[in-house]
């Protein structure tokens, strides 16, 4: 008890100083860091660093019991690809276990099961009533043999409420050129990549050893989706696409460096089965608000796309790399956030010579299952300083999002392995 006492005295400063006496009475009181973990947040919000894992923490999920699971881009020094963290005190947590021998991005939990993906397969683990994995060394392989050619390799996952799992299979190319990223190289006719990648595939969440033959290409023409989530209000899958790179590098006569930095938009799509979002034949211009024909396929920066492609549900600044999407259903945050979308923008690299951008969590308001109103930056300064962001040398890169059972928002960083928790302190 004495140990807890001194810890609370140390932690309870700054923003939540007034709560310190109250904190002494409860072991589970969440205590924001005095500097809000270095983040800039709207009034009333606080943040703390839950843990420093030192690993490349990609996506994250939190069980109803508060157990945290994080997927690592590659196995850590101990050879483990998934970390399990348990809450300690003050809202922080510590790594208590590691398991799985594969790297990857996707991790998702439902009552009773934990799902995780490598770059070519999806596994399922059983969860005990306490939210702990009971078969860490013998997961069930539910999907196997997905294409992985390094580029856009993340197999992000989410589920609907009808027992289906959705897997992103990113295109192993920038724009389906004959020679990838080669200046002036044109697009391959009838882009063959789309047969096995460049879309979202749907599988059953409870069947073992499914291959492409057992799945459905749910939506196509999506270059690479890292963030995706099921919207229960619309009963619909929403995804965030990473738009194509290097318009100027590959077609300097059509695009200057400024246009290349601002095009194309990073798009949010609301998907229905069978939808085509148009990659590689088009990109979305968020200045003109038009679907444009890609230069690899006859576009000149002015021609609009001609195919039957869906419109984005919302659009965001180019190249900022949306790596996670989460519909917030908690009650801790104020009413305006309920059922809206949080988006983790990992940050850009191909905007030079313009300043790099991103490294923040955005909030997109929703109404009745549709984006409604302008998006805003919700949590900023993962970079640590504006010049670090501009140089593309941020301290942290937000990558994963999860909602805790109390409505806290958890954020992973795959640069240093910091896990953040953002909370709202009621006034």
């Amino acid at each position: 008890m004495k140990k807890h006492f001194s810890r609370y005295l140390l932690l309870s400063t700054g923003l939540v100083g007034s709560l310190s006496l109250f904190a002494l009475t409860s072991e589970n009181k969440i205590v924001a860091d005095p500097d809000n973990a270095g983040l800039k947040l709207p009034a009333g919000f606080g943040a703390l660093k839950v843990a420093e894992t030192g690993a490349r923490t990609r996506h994250i999920t939190v069980t109803p019991q508060g157990t945290i699971y994080v997927k690592l881009n590659r196995p850590n020094k101990e050879g483990k690809g998934i970390l399990m963290l348990r809450e300690t005190s003050g809202g922080k947590a510590e790594v208590v276990n590691g398991f799985s021998n594969y790297g990857g991005t996707g991790i998702y939990s439902v009552p009773g099961f934990l799902y995780a993906s490598s770059n070519d397969a999806v596994y399922r683990y059983k969860l005990s009533p306490k939210g702990e994995v009971t078969n860490p060394t013998q997961p069930e392989k539910i999907i196997t043999g997905l294409i992985n050619r390094r580029q856009h390799e993340s197999k992000s996952i989410t589920q609907d409420k009808a027992g289906n799992i959705y897997v992103n299979i990113g295109a192993y190319s920038n724009a389906c050129q004959v020679k990838d990223r080669q200046k002036g190289s044109l697009g391959r006719p009838n882009c063959p990549i789309l047969d096995s990648a460049g879309g979202i595939w749907q599988f059953r969440a409870d069947k073992l050893n499914q291959t492409y033959a057992n799945g459905t290409r749910y939506a196509t023409g999506l270059r690479n989706v890292v963030g995706l989530d099921w919207n229960t209000q619309a009963n619909q899958l929403f995804v965030m696409q990473h738009g194509r790179d290097q318009l100027h590098d590959n077609f300097p006569e059509l695009y200057d460096t400024k246009q290349s930095a601002e095009l194309p938009a990073e798009c949010m799509y609301a998907l229905n089965k069978g939808d085509n979002a148009g990659w590689p034949y088009m990109y979305y211009d968020n200045v003109q608000r038009k679907k444009m024909m890609a230069p690899e396929y006859g576009g000149d920066g002015k021609k609009e796309a001609t195919g039957n492609y869906i419109d984005p549900a919302a659009a965001y600044p180019a190249h900022t790399a949306p790596n996670a999407l989460l519909f917030y259903t908690g009650t801790m945050f104020p009413e305006k956030y309920r059922n809206g979308a949080f988006i983790a923008f990992h940050g850009s690299w191909n905007r030079a010579p313009e300043p790099q951008k991103g490294y923040y969590i955005a909030f997109q308001p929703f109404k009745d299952g549709k984006p409604s109103g302008e998006w805003e930056v919700f949590a900023d300064n993962f970079a640590g300083a504006p010049d670090k962001a501009a140089a593309g040398r941020p301290d942290h890169k937000p990558c994963g999002l999860a909602q805790g059972p109390d409505g806290s928002l958890y954020v992973t960083d795959d640069k240093q392995g910091t896990i953040y928790r953002i909370v709202y302190a009621k006034k």
């Binding site: 390094r150 580029q151 390799e153 990223r181 080669q182 030079a352 010579p353």
Partner: protein, 157 residues
């Protein structure tokens, strides 16, 4: 707080350059009179070559390898302190001529594809590689257009 932060950054930079210098030959900056007079002419890279190399770099390389040559984590490899840049010239020239894909660099894998830059002239390639080998904390010998020409002639894709 800001001051501490800057100090930390400066320390980080110092320690990084110290590491880079351990890996690479020390800078040719003359520290004594003797060193200055003894410095061979070939070790000094002509300013015009660096200027021309930087122009080629800005146009063709900067987007992926970034302004500071540090690359992008897990996507595009860094150009500073790596044996790929500082080591064997033939291998380095061939990376530019043929591009590179699926190769681990110093134990790290990178997702992106580097296209071939064989459309660049021998001189553009020698200029840009000499620039890269003498920028971002790197210090290595120059590569001549004649060397690029020879490597290009024997280059089998």
């Amino acid at each position: 707080m800001k001051q501490i932060f800057i100090v930390v950054c400066a320390l980080t930079l110092l320690s990084q350059s110290a590491v880079a210098q351990q890996k690479t030959p020390p800078k040719a900056k003359p520290t004594t009179k003797k060193a200055a007079t003894a410095a061979p002419k070939t070790a000094a890279v002509a300013a015009a070559t660096l200027t021309a190399g930087k122009a080629v770099y800005t146009q063709n390389c900067l987007t992926c390898h970034m302004a500071d040559g540090g690359g992008v984590e897990r996507m595009n490899p860094p150009l500073n302190g790596t044996t790929w840049v500082l080591g064997d010239k033939t291998r380095l020239v061939k990376v530019v001529l043929n591009g590179l894909e699926g190769e681990d660099i110093d134990g790290e894998s990178y997702a992106s594809v580097m296209p071939a830059f064989d459309a660049l002239t021998d001189k553009q390639i020698s200029d840009v590689l000499t620039y890269v080998r003498n920028s971002f904390g790197n210090k290595a010998t120059a590569i001549s257009a004649a060397e690029v020409k020879t490597i290009r002639a024997s280059n089998k894709k």
